[in-house]
Subunit: 260 residues, 2 copies
């Protein structure tokens, strides 16, 4: 029955045949002058400003997987900016290095937020972006990171956390959370402690944040990452159904927040 | 930017201009001969079999609100069947009567399941239905009910529970759960006890059911029902954002399970 084709394909057919992604590395820096190297990508066949989506990488740092997600967003018609939290040239290559870098920023939320704020500011400089319609998505470490961006009071329409480590943390001084929040979680993620999740939700409730939390049954940590299985990390595994469904949930969310 | 129109509108434009809903009451009965009166609706402009969706009513019984949801499903291209759990002519009109009827079936799950099985069997008799692609959705009392249909082992592709009372219950003798499960919940629903929800989820986990649970922040019981506010029930309130989002989540779910 032709009326029930998957919605995603319907939208894709609206892209002009000449659609061509333009992706490039971009040098920028944070407020303290630390050099950072991000990646910006957009569809050159679209003219005029469009909503922007920042992508915060997982604990590996800005990788091909981060860029793949940015490209997927650009194909949806957005301008995507893959942020570099760790710094230019800081591209850890082993599990201990992943943990060391991620731990540094998890343990210093002010620094974490400063690095993310720099990405937000850099995205706003791009001529293709509609500065009134910006969101952020992030994976694992970056799934924690996008919530930190919201707590930093950035003028984001929304943030999407994919299997992020979620807990309660103080807002930046003088900040209020402006972003709507969508948290996409593995129901069996062993890195998500129930008491931390409860505190996370309570903070959003108390702060009157517009939030949604989705649990995907049987999914564990890093369920969106096709490359994670090769790392043999206990409690982290790719889950194709949860990957597909969480991406669809993100699409619905972005369509909603950017239509306002 | 034209690429970011809400997906729903894109799909609707595929419906032919001559689309005309045909809705009618239908008499049927359960295995014990109890007379029931449901409502079937489909788009007459669509030819050939199409997926079917059973709608299980809330504690008020089969009402105009139930029919409204069935009509919405028919507009999406499905054939919808609004089930009658309470029985022909049993249309309670007050809160005490709602509670009495709903309590009767909540307290007798075998009877509840028998009434729902009758609806499933009746839907399969309709010439417009593709019997291999059937799902069920339900609200409040009916949100409990669709989980009971899954526990009854019916050959459903999926069930969607909107603010249903959820807990653990034994399966019907010899049954396995074949349906995928999507539970759409108000994060602040006071009728949803955390320990019951935990038991519900544990049962799905143990039985290896493909499930997803969504919590809508600040939403309480009956968040999809525009008419609930007039009843002045503590802990029950319409929430437009949660209504819109949960409907979209259902659409994505139906598109996924019926495409297989």
């Amino acid at each position: 029955m032709k009326f029930l084709v998957p919605l995603g394909f319907t939208l894709m057919t609206l892209l002009p045949a000449s659609a061509a992604l333009v992706g490039k590395s971009i040098d920028y820096s944070d407020d303290h002058g630390a050099p950072l190297e991000g990646y910006v990508v957009y569809d050159d066949a679209i003219s005029g400003p469009r909503p922007g989506v920042i992508v915060i990488h997982d604990w590996r740092g800005l990788s091909d997987e981060t860029k793949r997600r940015a490209d997927m967003l650009a194909k949806l018609g957005y301008i995507a900016f893959a942020a570099d939290v760790y710094g230019k040239g800081v591209r850890p290559q082993s599990v201990p290095e992943f943990g060391k870098q991620a731990g540094k920023y998890r343990g210093d939320r002010a620094l974490f937020r400063a690095r993310e704020r720099a990405a937000y500011q850099e995205l706003l400089k791009q001529p293709q972006v509609d500065p009134t319609r910006v969101a952020a998505i992030g994976y694992c470490f970056g799934g924690t990171g996008v919530i930190e961006m919201a707590r930093d009071g950035l003028d984001l329409k929304g943030v999407v956390s994919f299997h992020g480590g979620l807990d309660a943390q103080p807002l930046s001084p003088g900040a209020t959370i402006k972003a709507k929040v969508l948290a996409l979680c593995g129901a069996d993620d062993p890195f998500e402690k129930p008491e931390d999740m409860k505190a996370f939700e309570q903070q959003l409730r108390d702060d009157k944040v517009d939030y949604q939390i989705v649990f995907y049954g049987h999914a564990v940590h890093a369920f969106t990452d096709p490359g994670v299985d090769a790392l043999n990390q206990p409690g982290a595994k790719y889950n194709a159904a949860a990957d597909r469904r969480s991406w669809q949930a993100m699409r619905d969310f972005l369509a909603e927040i950017f239509a306002m």
